[in-house]
């Protein structure tokens, strides 16, 4: 089920109704758990089994970890959790990719191996919930947390529908305590939650799907060689599309949880106002970058073992982060490019450690960051390296004989939306959305909320899946 579908409206109304009933807290949690399984099964019922498997294995692994005294036993329980979680991920997400690459390597070595046609279906959101369950056992292994007392609370943490399929990637310490005590939204929490859901759906259905998606598809899924303007406009449109799609989902998820009285973590903090790449990754998909930092970068040594090890850890983390997004070398290239950006920034920061940019310099560095992020997006969106090179060629003015592709109205709408998005990010970069809302005039907020809700209503139509579901 996706948030921008009619069936979700009915589903959510029923869930809210049941949550408001005078049932016991345990009954309400059972309701939420069943609702979450229905939410997941509505996409493809058999894959609920994977969710159960992931939940049960990590529950028992965590208990084993907590009871084990000897290091090797603790390590064995931790390994069981990691192997099962990563095994599921590897089979469903990377199985075909691994076999294809093996066949390619074999052919380079002179052996002809033709892999069987793959019919593996990628379970929706598997990368998100496996990371969530792994953080449970890893936190216990690293002695940062103790196991949950109740299986119901733990299962609900894994399955809670607002964050289940596309994050934010929650940690057990963030959510399980909330399930231990009764939670019910206040009237204002409910209204504010609905306002956040409106904002999220507006970003997703109107901006990402309605206005930006067709621009991106015409260039990235088309066959024409794009020129300078078309390449840049399509790539800028994608930068807006991916943000509105994913941040829109996160905001809607936070709003949905708030309507039930629960708090989810921030996942975005106006990333297109970032100055530098360290800053960007502290603002973009925060829960994933923090996960990778805590469970990959730091265990690999982080910045504690000298320069070489630091750069290695950085690059390895970003390459894994790239691969997490999809089983394709273009995603790895995207991660690698960001790793390179971060490494260069780190070197420059060391070289010019006393430098503090003024307003103009900060704005210029912010613009440079945004442009370099866009160049990296080319690898993220392009289906092949050939296509990525073709579009980059256009962006650097090499496709001089290209014919105009994008209609004038596409150029206009993309410019207005991306310009507005970047300006909004810049104006709010040092505050939260809530702080900005608190300072706004109620009449302006009412008008904005009305416009967004009305736009969602008249943009109706076939709902597209969220881009991040595939990850």
């Amino acid at each position: 089920m996706i948030f921008n579908s009619l069936i979700f409206v009915v589903f959510f109304a029923i869930v809210l109704f049941l949550h408001a009933m005078p049932f016991s807290w345990r009954a309400k949690k059972i309701n939420l758990l069943i609702a979450s399984y229905i939410f997941y099964a509505a996409w493809n019922p058999p894959f609920v089994i994977l969710l159960w498997l992931s939940t049960v294995v990590d529950w028992f692994a965590a208990r084993g970890l907590a009871q084990a005294d000897e290091p090797w036993k603790r390590r064995a329980w931790m390994m069981l959790s990691v192997v099962v979680s990563l095994g599921l991920l590897c089979y469903f997400k990377y199985g075909h990719f691994l076999i294809e690459n093996f066949a390619h390597l074999a052919s380079l070595a002179g052996f002809q191996y033709r892999p069987p046609q793959s019919s593996i279906v990628l379970p929706i959101g598997i990368s998100f919930y496996t990371f969530a369950t792994m953080s449970y056992t890893l936190d216990i292994y690293l002695r940062r947390a103790k196991p949950a007392r109740s299986f119901l609370d733990y299962a609900l943490f894994v399955t809670f529908f607002p964050h289940l399929v596309a994050g934010p990637i929650m940690r057990p310490t963030e959510l399980v305590p909330q399930f231990e005590v009764p939670h019910k939204a206040t009237a204002d929490q409910l209204r504010f939650g609905l306002a956040l859901m409106t904002l999220g759906l507006f970003e997703k259905a109107v901006l990402a799907d309605g206005f930006l998606g067709p621009v991106v598809e015409q260039i990235y899924d088309g066959k024409a060689i794009p020129g300078f303007i078309d390449s840049w406009v399509a790539t800028l449109a994608f930068s807006g599309q991916i943000f509105c799609d994913f941040a829109g989902y996160s905001i809607a998820a936070i709003g949905a949880a708030l309507c039930l009285g629960f708090a989810l973590s921030d996942n975005f903090r106006f990333p297109y106002a970032a100055v530098g790449f360290t800053d960007f990754w502290r603002r973009w998909h925060i829960t994933l970058s923090a996960w990778l930092r805590d469970y990959v970068y730091i265990p690999l040594g982080g910045s504690r073992h000298g320069n070489v090890r630091t750069y290695f850890s950085l690059m390895a983390t970003m390459l894994i982060g790239g691969l997490w997004h999809g089983a394709s070398w273009t995603f790895v290239a995207w991660g690698g490019l960001h790793g390179l950006y971060l490494a260069i920034e780190r070197m420059l920061r060391k070289q010019f450690s006393g430098y503090r940019p003024g307003r103009a310099a900060a704005a210029a560095l912010g613009l440079l960051t945004f442009l370099l992020v866009n160049i990296a997006w080319v690898f993220f969106r392009a289906k092949t390296f050939h296509q990525a090179i073709l579009i980059l060629g256009g962006m650097f003015g090499r496709n001089t004989h290209a014919q105009p592709e994008l209609a004038g109205v596409y150029l206009l709408t993309t410019t207005v939306i991306i310009g507005g998005l970047v300006l909004a990010h810049c104006s709010m970069r040092n505050q939260t959305l809530e702080a900005a809302i608190a300072r706004a005039h109620p009449a302006a907020l009412t008008a904005l909320w009305t416009i967004m809700a009305f736009a969602v209503v008249i943009q109706h139509g076939e709902s597209n899946g969220f881009i991040y579901f595939q990850f």
Binding site: M1, L6, I7, A41, A42, W43, D139, R143, R144, K146, P147, A148, P172, T173, E174, P177, E180, T186, A187, D188, F192, A195, G210, P214, A263, L264, D266, R269, W281, R283, T287, A290, R293, D294, I298, P404, E405, A407, G408, V409, L411, L412, T413, N430, Q431, E434, A435, I437, P442, L445, T446, W449, T450, A453, F454, V457, I458, Q459, H460, S463
Partner: protein, 400 residues
């Protein structure tokens, strides 16, 4: 000390003192530690009044929008070219004994009057034609379905039927959906159908972004012009009945726009012989399979205006396509050129018939086919034949 997952124990990492005003810490600010329960403050605003005002305003604006859409002749209950609806119809073949199905492109889709067909042959054909789609993939799909033992009437605009690069993708997508549709998608469609009975505005061709994109008046010369796209061609009713959108019958601006789209849309370069041969072979295989199940296949070639027909004949000439397919598949059919009762019908936008003329055309082609296949009979008491006189012309005047 380890932070506990349980709230009843100590929670560490309270670092709120480090946060500047208007900000809050995120996971990015807390490396290498258990993350605490997130904080979500509710901004101080009169939320009750705002929510009430938004509800009233959105209802008001939506009502005005609905009124505006109805003035544009959008009608409640029109599901457009919904693949979900098509998939639902297609699954009927697996569940019931369906005696007659209609396959093909928008011509046979808009130009077939299912009520008239029911009056003539005693059963209501299942309409499985897809606008912008070739009939071949659906014919193959039906041929592979052991449940089907009936008659397939395949409508053929040669360009759509033979040029699968142009018209193959939509049927494939629809077939895939008929084989697997997630409960979520199915549920959303059922709700959409209920809503669409009351709301005309739920039309995919008139959603916000589409309307904005249509404002482009060739603003960027040389680029693909969004106005040169199909705005809205079809109008669906209950039981799979689809017509040419009623407004196209009298709105000269819209019908001329569609006429121009067709003239630009149809390729005029001759289709290569290899592609035509491949389609002939695939068609024969499908026809043979259906006959092996006890069914049969007949073909129908609906009309198009002379200027469009000239382009179509250049791309796929009758002799290489229509005549060849009947001969190769040993099938019967009726071509508009050979159907005197359906000449000079009204084609408001050059490619599809007006409603009244669709009834006349349906009457003509079914009467003609009734003698050509054992699976199609005119029922006793069938109404008398119609003629061009029954095809009332709209005030616009058609493009003959």
């Amino acid at each position: 000390m380890a932070s506990s997952i349980s709230s009843s124990e100590e929670i560490v990492h309270d670092t709120r003192h480090a946060v500047p005003s208007g900000l809050r810490l995120t996971a990015a600010d807390r490396p290498g530690m258990a993350q605490p329960v997130p904080e979500r403050d509710i901004p101080q605003q009169p939320w009750r009044g705002m929510a009430l005002a938004v509800t009233v305003l959105v209802l008001l604006l939506t009502s005005l929008w609905e009124w505006k859409m109805r003035t544009l002749e959008l009608v409640p209950g029109d599901l457009g070219g919904s693949f979900d609806r098509w998939a639902e119809l297609r699954r009927q073949v697996d569940k019931h004994n369906v005696p007659v199905v209609i396959l093909g492109d928008s011509r046979i889709l808009f130009d077939s009057d299912l009520d008239r067909a029911t009056q003539l042959i005693g059963v209501r054909p299942l309409q499985l034609a897809i606008a912008g789609g070739s009939g071949l993939p659906v014919l193959e799909d039906i041929a592979d379905d052991p449940h089907f033992h009936g008659l397939a009437i395949v409508g053929m605009a040669e360009t759509a039927y033979f040029d699968l690069q142009l018209a193959g993708a939509r049927p494939e997508k629809a077939i895939a959906l008929s084989r697997w549709e997630s409960p979520s998608k199915r549920g959303s469609f059922l709700i959409h159908r209920v809503l669409s009975h009351g709301l005309a505005m739920l039309d995919d061709d008139y959603k916000l972004s589409t309307l904005v994109f249509r404002l482009d008046h060739n603003w960027r010369p040389g680029a693909s012009d969004r106005r040169n796209a199909i705005w809205k061609g079809e109008e669906t009713g209950a039981d799979g009945q689809t017509w040419l959108w009623r407004r196209l019958e009298h709105d000269r601006r819209l019908s001329e726009h569609m006429h121009n789209v067709w003239l630009h849309f149809f390729p005029s370069q001759p289709l290569d012989g290899q592609t035509i041969s491949a389609v002939l072979v695939r068609t024969k295989v499908a026809v043979d399979k259906i006959r092996a199940h006890g069914g049969d296949v007949v073909f129908v070639r609906p009309s198009s205006a002379p200027d469009l027909r000239a382009i179509e004949d250049k791309h796929v000439p009758r002799a290489r396509a229509w005549d060849a397919i009947l001969a190769y598949a040993h099938s019967n059919g009726v071509h508009i050129d050979d159907l005197p009762a359906a000449q000079n019908l009204t084609l408001p936008e050059a490619s599809h018939l007006s409603r009244a003329c669709a009834t006349v055309f349906t009457d003509a082609y079914l009467r003609n086919l009734a003698g050509k296949t054992p699976l199609l009979h005119l029922q006793p008491g069938a109404p008398p034949a119609l003629s061009t006189r029954n095809c009332v012309r709209p005030s616009l005047g058609g493009l003959h």
